[in-house]
Symmetry: C2
């Protein structure tokens, strides 16, 4: 059986290009114990992937040169040596950027294609949804009536953060790029206001949309926007550091937040999160979020691009802000 894979060929300096990838056509090997063969249907593209391409200590091992690129994905089991999984089951797991995954069943779990379209298991019902849920509620600790600001607000994590904050009774302001995304946040997702960072000053936008200051900031982007928000935080504000997509392709030093002393002035807190820490509680969170979805309080949007071969270019859409909703790669059959 044939497979198609993207292997990491070299570590990028700055933006990843085609040269950093090796597209390989390989033969699928036979299964060992407790393994499955999965026909990969959808692959999750996430900003964190940029970090996994770098060498050095992080919250997870880097992808090694010559390895299949790490990625979450959903697909259909076609062969199994684990009695808990059968051909025909749909599963979510770290399937990698490839058409067929031969993978241990450890860490794999089943998903139901009748309950939700498959790409949704990579978005609101997957890691981005969990990141939003735990990052906002546990670390951000929003209280009724507080102002919550989220960057990357039309993205997979940000859009869920904003909607959960609304459910919790907060005033919610999203920062996103372009009028279409900003309109979507307000008209479709019920955000109170949106700031279009591509066409207006974020500083001025925060002034006009957050007259009572910012109590919780959920940051997906870092850079100048983080610094702008720091000038508007309230006493005892909580800043959740989820990512810094503006900085991931830097060839120079990361821009540290020059206004970090606002933490001192306001006795505020900046705290990093990694979703995997909450793995034990995913079930409870998924149940609550499913309830919100059923009630129409939590909406989701996926941006599906077809063609495994397009992976190198499709991934870059994240860093140009070209995706609108959770970015998913559909494997052509």
């Amino acid at each position: 059986m044939k497979n198609r894979q993207y292997l990491l060929a070299s570590r990028p300096v700055g933006k990843p290009t085609r040269e950093n990838w090796e597209y390989a056509e390989t033969e699928v090997e036979g299964l060992g114990d407790n393994e499955v063969l999965v026909n990969v249907e959808y692959i999750s593209l996430d900003p964190a992937m940029r970090g996994w391409m770098n060498e050095g200590k992080s919250y997870i091992e880097p992808v090694q040169i010559g390895e299949v690129m790490r990625a979450g994905g959903v697909g259909k089991v076609i062969e199994s040596t684990d009695p808990n999984f059968s051909a025909g089951d749909y599963v979510y797991g770290q399937l990698g950027v490839q058409a067929v995954a031969k993978i241990s069943t450890q860490g794999l779990h089943k998903v139901d294609p009748d309950l939700a379209p498959l790409p949704r298991y990579l978005g609101v019902l997957g890691m981005p949804g969990m990141t939003a849920y735990f990052g906002l509620l546990e670390t951000g600790q929003p209280k009724d009536g507080e102002t919550v600001v989220v960057s990357g607000a039309a993205g997979a994590v940000g859009s869920v953060v904003g909607q959960i904050a609304k459910i919790k009774g907060c005033r919610v302001v999203g920062i996103a790029g372009g009028k279409e995304k900003c309109d979507y946040l307000i008209n479709e997702l019920g955000f109170d206001a949106a700031i279009d960072y591509k066409n207006e000053s974020v500083k001025d936008g925060l002034k006009s949309t957050c007259p009572d200051g910012v109590d919780v900031y959920f940051d997906n982007v870092g850079g100048d926007i983080l610094d702008d928000v720091l000038t508007r935080i309230n006493l005892r504000a909580r800043i959740v550091i989820c990512g810094a997509i503006s900085q991931y392709n830097n060839t120079t030093e990361v821009k540290g937040p020059s206004n970090y002393l606002s933490l001192l002035v306001n006795r505020a807190r900046m705290e990093g999160i990694v979703v995997f820490d909450n793995a034990k509680h995913y079930g409870k969170a998924a149940q609550e979020m499913a309830g919100w979805i059923a009630q129409g309080k939590l909406k989701a949007k996926e941006h599906v691009v077809e063609g495994l071969e397009t992976f190198p270019e499709t991934l870059m859409m994240l860093f140009e802000g070209e995706n609108f909703g959770k970015l998913v790669l559909k494997v052509d059959s």
Copy 2:
């Protein structure tokens, strides 16, 4: 009755100079209700004073142009219209940079010159001690066996932070400038190790003195040292932002911590503190610290410079790292 005062003449750009001050000889006015006249004996010189000279929103109002410079101080009451205070009482309060303070008794409290030398009420028994106590214990939350690093370690706050961390069973590493200070930290205060930032690489020093990483970092200095520590923090580390003396005289933007994404990787927290928030609990803290002093577990050092007139230059010793212990200005009589 004659007074001598330092008024803020202009707002400094970068380092404050003589030109930013007006030395005034004035007449003391008569007392209003619930006021006292205090013969100021010792004036506290603190890094925070640099911030009070700037315009703009902070945790406290800026000193206005033409106003007496704000400063904590201890002195002897010479006249009172408040039945709770009598001539001869020694008091601590915001007495200002002047020889005589005509001041409301609100916020003033008595100190006992027989229990401790007066300058000590400006150090370990005053705001710096309280800052260390609450900043370390409430925000830093050190646990037995953890590694605590403190910068400005031979200063008024840092030296107390390190000693309290030792009392709590931590491994303690201090960062200070010069061999004399480093020797003092180890030999007199019982720190486990010291890094001399003036003569060695802080990064290398952290590597060798913190083989198990850093669990709590109490930061008084900001700048490159904060960035160096960020590369060595452990999972769920706590960084207490107490000050950033390296940045206070900047004429360019504050250097934000480029390595702040280490907070994400390590799910760590960076939190600012302002001592005044704990005012209700000063009494309890003072009692516990007095116990430690009596047991010889908590030592203090004051650096006393005599002569009110020297104030502009003596203040600058803080920013050059020239003080050794809590810097106090003794008013000449």
